[in-house]
Symmetry: C2
Amino acid sequence: MSRYTSIEHNKFLLQEVHQVTDIFSLPRFAHLNWEEAWMMIEAAKLLADRDMAPYFKEMDAQPALYDGNGGVKTHPQLKTIIHQAAENGWIGGGASFDHGGMQLPMMIFNAAQHIFMAANNSCQGYFSLSAGSAALITSFGTQEQINTFVPNIFAGKWQGTMALTEPQAGSSLTDITTSAKPMGDGFYKIKGQKIFISGGQHEACSNFVHLTLARIEGAPAGVKGISLFIIPKFWPEKDGTLTPNDVFCAGDFQKMGQRGYCTTHLVFGDKDECKGWLVGEPHKGLPYMFQMMNEARISVGLDAASVAMAAYQASLQYTSERPQGRLASEKDPLKPPTLIINHPDVQRMLLTQKAIAEGALSLVMECNRLSDLVHGTEGEAKKNSLLLLELLTPIVKTYSSEQGSRSASLAIQTLGGYGFTMDFPVQQHYRDLKIMSLYEGTTGIQSIDLLGRKVVMEKGKALAILGEQIQAAIQSASQLSALKKNAKQLETEWTRIQQVLAQLSTFAPTSIDRYLADATVFMEQLSYVVIAWQWLKQAIVAQRNIDAGNFKNQSQSFYEGKVVTMKFFFRYELTHAAACAQTLLDEEFLTNVKKKELFD
Amino acid sequence: MSRYTSIEHNKFLLQEVHQVTDIFSLPRFAHLNWEEAWMMIEAAKLLADRDMAPYFKEMDAQPALYDGNGGVKTHPQLKTIIHQAAENGWIGGGASFDHGGMQLPMMIFNAAQHIFMAANNSCQGYFSLSAGSAALITSFGTQEQINTFVPNIFAGKWQGTMALTEPQAGSSLTDITTSAKPMGDGFYKIKGQKIFISGGQHEACSNFVHLTLARIEGAPAGVKGISLFIIPKFWPEKDGTLTPNDVFCAGDFQKMGQRGYCTTHLVFGDKDECKGWLVGEPHKGLPYMFQMMNEARISVGLDAASVAMAAYQASLQYTSERPQGRLASEKDPLKPPTLIINHPDVQRMLLTQKAIAEGALSLVMECNRLSDLVHGTEGEAKKNSLLLLELLTPIVKTYSSEQGSRSASLAIQTLGGYGFTMDFPVQQHYRDLKIMSLYEGTTGIQSIDLLGRKVVMEKGKALAILGEQIQAAIQSASQLSALKKNAKQLETEWTRIQQVLAQLSTFAPTSIDRYLADATVFMEQLSYVVIAWQWLKQAIVAQRNIDAGNFKNQSQSFYEGKVVTMKFFFRYELTHAAACAQTLLDEEFLTNVKKKELFD
């Protein structure tokens, strides 16, 4: 079996960089210890090796396909995969004991999801979507709703989905028109269409539970008039029988990548008989949905980083095994060719991939830790963790997806022409990855969320908390002579973030459009800084172990690899943060072109 | 029909920026004038509209496929396409009258090829490869070889190919082992295998003429022992009949993109009966092949820029037609949604695409002009044109392919989720584009060529010529008040190129590996500067017309669009040149990692 992730890196992040044992000391998670938790991760790896990774290519070659009459044909292995994931707790494991879960910290739950995503990103979505839908019901649904749907979802028998996007509205949720007409008792007659519904119809589950946004008749316009409904394909009656609901799958989008993961078009109420069940209060659907959306954004960040990791591993394996060409210093053509990995430019491409994938994975783990602190603490600690988590969410989603695509492109590049052929997995990683910058809000939307909401919320408190954490890392790194230079560089870049925000904020009072125009460039600048922080954190741990000669958790070369990669990131990637700043500090407003003809 | 290129931009480059009429004043091209030449381009557009563009999607959906027994099934339209291209002079048009061509300048020839590539990049390769092979034969072959092969290739009846890569050697041509044993009279018995041979076997031509690199028995090791052979699939006897040659197509690689363009695996001499015909002198095959290779590199640059242009046009059309969401300043959800193009972040993505595609196309045109000067002038003028052309060749290939991929990624992004579906062409552009950074030498190889050979050849004379031309543009721009600031920025970045080279050159004497380690980063830095120069040239013409109120060739908004895009490039893209410099000026050598374990 080809390697698709580094289990050691996973361990390093959990155990040493983000110290999951702190989390085990919180009452909510006190039932766990390191040995048990790690055993779960190792079991997840075996599961992925056996049931997921071997079907990665097949699920692409035999994509999900609409049958012309409401059904979607999926790969036969999918049923086993969903069943096995459920059986092993990887759908409901994050839920509390009360709700039939294993009360796992997100750090552990997502360390396993990472393995599944790296093994086969076309299958992991099915159960991660189920997990998210069930969490939404447990958070805001009634006990009856929880009892009706959650156990079946956790058992992998029913598929949960999130149904937001509509054909005419796209990213603009303000404009959704799916309607809900009260029938009494919290039930509503639903009418409307939803597109891009992942997992919306397939052969591996017997029922589909669509968490759907719709407007109750007479609701206010805009996002303040949106409510959340449960719309099952088959309605579970009180006696346990299932009655067909008026939910029809009208198609499955054929895609460039993630072809094993179906993307459906759903029609609710074509015969005027679609019944939905209101979740929580009317008109509060969007805030509810944002719980799931925020988790989904982190999950997409994890997915992107995981696929980038898989591509990196394939690239590393190929270049380590195959000889080709000679170093420039070797002029004798009779000398045998050297391994591809020995060429400096190939090392540059490998280190770029390692820097992106492992840097992004570390940031995801930081987010998981914050999420665990939100769930496991109270008061100020909880509040601050939530603020920082909210700030980092759009960043982890965007950095991983945008840079992940670039990373997979480099993976192809290291394989040369072979990388472009269907004989090797890297082209599939590249194709699969492109969806990540579109899922759950495009890069543009994430960037507007970052600059327009997260940076300014509570008078910039989230950013201040981030600043404190970055300063703490700079402080620690400054004490290690090997890292002094890098600590200084991060300090400079952090200061530059302040300068940029000071300048941008002058636009906000007069023109919010101008303030937000370059949000994506600001996202890029801040992402470099945040990933640099994650790399510095990794390097501090690694360097301390090297200095102390402590190699009980990882080998010396593992730690040296971390330090080299951090230095690489600072030299080849972080340098571009200043370029973003230069763009942002330019006061001219070029992207308010009024005449469409200027683009011709 | 959807728009896939801007014919106006083509006209602007030919007529105003790169002044093709100068070229018509050279004796070799004096038979042409602007009106005639432009009529040819317009006819090429009609041909592409009718015979190529409508098959873009189909040729991807029904890819070239090996039949299991030496044949490759291709799309039925391919025969019409090759026939029509031949008929209209787009295979042999660049050749001299002597050789049955139309003696067209490359500026005109490639302006038409651009249209074909943008319309359907899976078909254009077939005839551009034929054109290149024929040019190789006319340059170095005997009159008999020319008479035997060239007319049939120009007529589109026979397919020309270039056969370099071997399974065990990949990019390292030093290591090719295909052997050639003299049979007398310039004929050789050939034995060996070649992979990744584009156009190597299909249904639209009756014979295949493989321009093949092989080693004559007893030849010196390395690249100095490589000879060039013509190996036809069917041997043309003196009486005009065709005898089967021992050339077997053993497979067709299935690829992520350019799926209509076959990529074959050829076996020569499996029955020990493969006959090849030596071209030129023994052991000079590589320098000969480099004529074709250099043209092919520019052609790949053009192809990449053309596909990026097609993706941009699709992106522009979609965003100009579809309303979605509201500006941040519009808080009223009852107001109708605005067109997608009106969102600043979308304009940023559109301008990025325009800047990349049109900037790259301008650089290709600069190269075509230099190529015409090489063919149409003598003495110092010829020599200087060749030097600059050689310097720019790896840059145009690399910038267009690397940034073209990024550009197509942004095209997908502007379409949101739809961009990832097979219902829209942008995902195909994205898939097709990825091969461009691998064709004819990867980005790493181009970068080593640039820094290791082109920058230093003739004591840096090529770079000095580039410097003079950049200074001339800076000078002209400085006289226009609207462009002063940009002229100054380019001046700064040009100076930084010198600083970087001064520093890098300190490594060269002691370690060539260190000198070349970051060649790709230097490529990136110099590319930004070179494309900025092309944008400044375009903006100078545009601004002068605006200042003079001269809108006889193009509309005012067309010119304004050029100036805006130049300013956009300088602000959002050129700013990253300094980041590359910062990386390059760091003296640490990170990419000589000796222990493979550090990558784990």
